[in-house]
Symmetry: C2
Subunit: 233 residues, 2 copies
DNA sequence: TTCCGGTTGGCTGTTGACAAGCGACACTTC
DNA sequence: GAAGTGTCGCTTGTCAACAGCCAACCGGAA
């Protein structure tokens, strides 16, 4: 009965399945639920102290977002991304963020620009500290600024969904393979174009910037990081 | 008990909620279920001859796709798109299709190119016949060729979802406002670039091509076609 | 020892009932 | 007559039980 049995719940306003949805989503995105984990409805529901109904509802939404895969009559599994699926996502990300920059540049407020500069500076600091995790967070925020400032809600939604799925694998961060310094230089170049109000150039630079890790993944020995689909699938 | 009470059902392989999902999706996309229609679970379930469970499951998926909106404790409604939401979608569509062209051009088979030419010819015929509906279908197919040929499954998925939501409103087809002839010329120009293997130029032309109706919608008296969000939302 | 068939157990898909929330209507009061 | 409040009914959210399917296990035959 008591939802509080699960530690991370606090909000009581939303419906039960929404809470479960948010909870599971969080668990998956933070990799506390590893890709490939099979989810037994009855066991999970019991563990959460709820019945199977809301859990199924939540799993359905997660499946629609691509975070879990439902095999009919065989249960739900936390989605694994194959290398090609990851690459596909990367290409789409590039297209979406390029659009975001084009839309955002003419709309940026002074506060936005200040934040971008602050983030760029922060990246340098992270690089000096060899704080890879920190760099990753800041980098992500840098890109998000444009998406948020684009003013296009659907773009924000689709980008968020995409990054949610890919984020789990990006924590290992291929971004760094080309070297932190190069990444910083690229961000600075983008920022210059932004300050100049040149949306087209900013977008082109961003596309090139995103393409870098793409090539790395493609050609590198990064294979070990992927949970590639088994031969039969 | 009998699913066959609903005329459009034929397939029996899939699970019940999947059939309901496909059925409702079809109904919505063909506008047999108009935007704004409120869906009463009990009544709908009875009408379909099933219980509320599978119906709720299906509604959940449709909500995740954006085709229906679920207001907690207040039921499901077939989604209305406001003008700005539609414009947002159009911009994203442009970005996705531009990516599709870039990816597809180097991968196009002779059969693909032949199909594109055939479709371009068919557009001319439709224009001569003043067959607006036909033109719309062919046009859609023309764009889809690139998406299919891109080889990027995620792109296909996201594009399909986007078009499903927007398609309902596009049946009225703003595409034509600029004149069928102009649209045909634009397609021909794209096709030339494709034949020349110039992916970049093709993508740029496509972006411009998609932008046209966008401007029309923005500035025109097309307002009547939209079910704009009520002032309080 | 290996392969095939039947059986069993556990899981999901589906169902119908229960409970809680929201909105509408009517009644009272100013 | 209008505004506020209380009640009633319908709808959704949740639950627990039933039934069907899949897969793994076990036994027997080649």
């Amino acid at each position: 009965m008591s939802v509080e049995t699960s530690s991370t719940f606090g909000v009581q306003n939303r419906t039960l399945w929404e809470q479960v949805f948010a909870h599971l989503r969080e668990e998956i995105l933070t990799s506390r639920l590893a890709p490939g984990t099979e989810i037994n409805e009855a066991a999970f529901a019991k563990q959460l102290g709820i019945s199977r109904g809301p859990l199924r509802e939540a799993l359905g939404r997660l499946a629609a977002e691509g975070l879990v895969t439902i095999r009919p009559r065989r249960g739900a599994v936390v989605t694994k991304l194959s290398r090609t699926e990851f690459m596909d996502g990367y290409q789409v990300r590039e297209a979406l963020e390029s659009l975001a920059v084009k839309l955002a540049v003419p709309r940026l407020t002074d506060a936005n620009r200040a934040e971008l500069h602050a983030l760029a500076d922060e990246m340098v600091e992270c690089a000096n500290r060899d704080d890879v995790a920190g760099f990753f967070v800041v980098n992500r925020r840098f890109h998000d600024v444009f998406v948020q400032a684009s003013g296009n809600e659907r773009l924000q939604e689709m980008h968020g969904q995409l990054m949610a799925q890919m984020g789990r694998l990006m924590n290992k961060s291929f971004e760094l393979r080309g070297g932190l310094d190069q990444s910083i230089a690229e961000h600075r170049a983008i920022l210059d174009a932004v300050d100049a109000g040149d949306a087209t150039r900013a977008a082109r630079l961003l596309e090139e910037h995103i393409e870098v890790p793409q090539r790395v993944i493609d050609s590198s020995d990064a294979a070990a990081l992927f949970e590639d689909e088994p031969p039969d699938e």
